[in-house]
């Protein structure tokens, strides 16, 4: 089994999930509570990776982070490195690719929080930030956890985007799904099926946890 690829995928998924939580929480909050007319446009952009083929996304990302693009040029001026074929490039691609998986469950959960509780907090003089932290987040924690777990799992299973921007470098961009693909291509079906089985078990476990959370039959955090 290609443990190096498994370790890399885990590292990528942890980093992606951390970044997505940091971006996703404020973004979901904005989507739910903003009164801007054009927020449907933002929602559409966030949902794009759900419908775009990973090849399209990967192709655009490759062009967007290449040394000839403004983003790629800025990055190489700041860090001296290049984004394509690097872990950071893959991280950026994964964040974009899994964005809807984080944001949409959070939006659903924030939207389900009783508006009266939020307004009561505001009336009692609690700031918006503190209301978010102490009222909304605790009430929406199942949705937040779902978003985080789904984006973690989605990143582990990511294939098309990684194939397009990764360049298949061992220990840097050869993730577990790419490793399985290589094994199949090299006709090493037994190695491929071992790794695939591991991934299948993992994915099932993750989804089981997500559905358990949604049904609240298994509270991860005890209710306050």
């Amino acid at each position: 089994m290609d443990w190096q690829a498994i370790a890399l995928s885990l590292r990528l998924a942890v980093a992606t999930t951390a970044i997505l939580l940091a971006i996703g929480l404020p973004l979901a909050y904005w989507v739910v509570y903003s009164r801007r007319r054009w927020k449907f446009l933002v929602e559409a952009v966030v949902a794009l990776p759900l419908v775009l083929p990973p090849t399209v996304l990967g192709f655009y990302i490759l062009l967007a982070i290449g040394p000839r693009s403004p983003v790629g040029a800025l990055y190489s001026r700041l860090t001296g490195g290049l984004l394509p074929f690097s872990f950071n490039g893959l991280l950026l691609a994964s964040v974009l690719y899994s964005l809807p998986f984080t944001v949409q469950p959070m939006v659903a959960a924030f939207g389900a929080v009783d508006r009266r509780l939020i307004e009561a907090a505001w009336c009692l003089g609690v700031s918006r930030a503190a209301t978010f932290r102490r009222v909304i987040v605790p009430l929406a924690r199942a949705g937040i956890a779902t978003g985080a777990i789904l984006s973690f799992a989605h990143t582990i299973g990511e294939f098309g985007v990684v194939l397009m921007v990764g360049g298949n470098i061992a220990g840097v961009t050869r993730t577990v799904s790419i490793s399985i693909y290589d094994q199949v291509q090299a006709l090493d079906y037994s190695a491929a099926s071992r790794t695939s089985l591991l991934l299948l078990g993992f994915s099932f476990a993750v989804l089981a946890v997500v559905y358990a959370l949604q049904r609240r039959i298994w509270a991860i955090w005890p209710a306050n």
Partner: protein, 232 residues
């Protein structure tokens, strides 16, 4: 028929010539990775003819009874070239393979040597030209030879080793420069064809393979950056 991706430019011309000589036989080709076709054929994909990018897959299919053993033959030999975009400062004509050692070259794209015949050839060539150890940290692997070219075209890699047939393709020609790697630097990429055991019309399939070995087809292969074996 299932055809290797590197035939995407040469084969349509050959098919056109074949059709004008055999108007009653209909030929259509699907292009893709030979390894994928191999698994698809093993799992019952309804192809009549398989034009592989190497010899390994048709041989295996013949062993497994899925391809007609006697029908196998080498229809073309693939060649490889170092390719850089038109605006690249690299002097391929003077430095040849050593142009890739320049500090400005951060990434060199090759096809995955683990399963792509052109990747295996590229790796073997880098070895025999004595630059593999210095270039190994720069290598990025494309899933197939077309993606390898795309890595370079997009600017993500500064140079790549691709199929000569791609570098010479009409749509790629104006976009870059290439230096062909001498053919004695790597084992020949023998591309084999075979009629599949479950072909619906094995006579027509055999006729098409026969056509591939004739001068008209061989001329087109050569024009598109392949070489052909003498009297195969």
């Amino acid at each position: 028929m299932a055809a290797a991706a590197d035939l995407e430019f040469a084969l349509p011309q050959i098919i056109r010539q074949f059709q004008s000589a055999n108007p009653r036989t209909e030929v259509s080709a699907v292009y893709g990775s030979s390894g994928n076709f191999y698994s698809q054929i093993r799992n019952g994909a309804p192809f009549d003819v398989f034009l592989s990018a190497d010899a390994q897959y048709p041989d295996r299919l013949a062993e497994e009874g899925l391809a007609v053993r006697r029908s196998r033959f080498t229809y073309a030999v693939g060649r490889i070239a170092v390719w850089v975009p038109a605006g690249s400062p690299l002097d391929l004509d003077r430095l040849q393979i050593h142009a890739l050692e320049a500090g400005s070259v951060k990434h060199v794209a090759i096809a995955n040597p683990q399963h792509a015949p052109y990747g295996r050839a590229a790796k073997a060539a880098l070895r025999s030209l004595g630059v593999y150890d210095r270039l190994a940290p720069k290598l990025v692997l494309g899933e197939n030879i077309a993606q390898t070219l795309e890595f370079v075209q997009s600017g993500a890699a500064e140079a790549g080793i691709v199929a000569l047939s791609l570098a010479m393709a009409p749509s790629v020609r104006g976009q870059g420069r290439y230096w062909e790697i001498p053919q004695d630097a790597y084992p020949p990429i023998r591309q084999e064809a075979a009629v599949l055991a479950r072909a619906r019309d094995s006579k027509a399939s055999a006729r098409f393979l026969d056509f591939l070995g004739q001068d008209a087809a061989r001329r087109i292969f050569m024009q598109y950056g392949f070489s052909v074996q003498a009297g195969s």
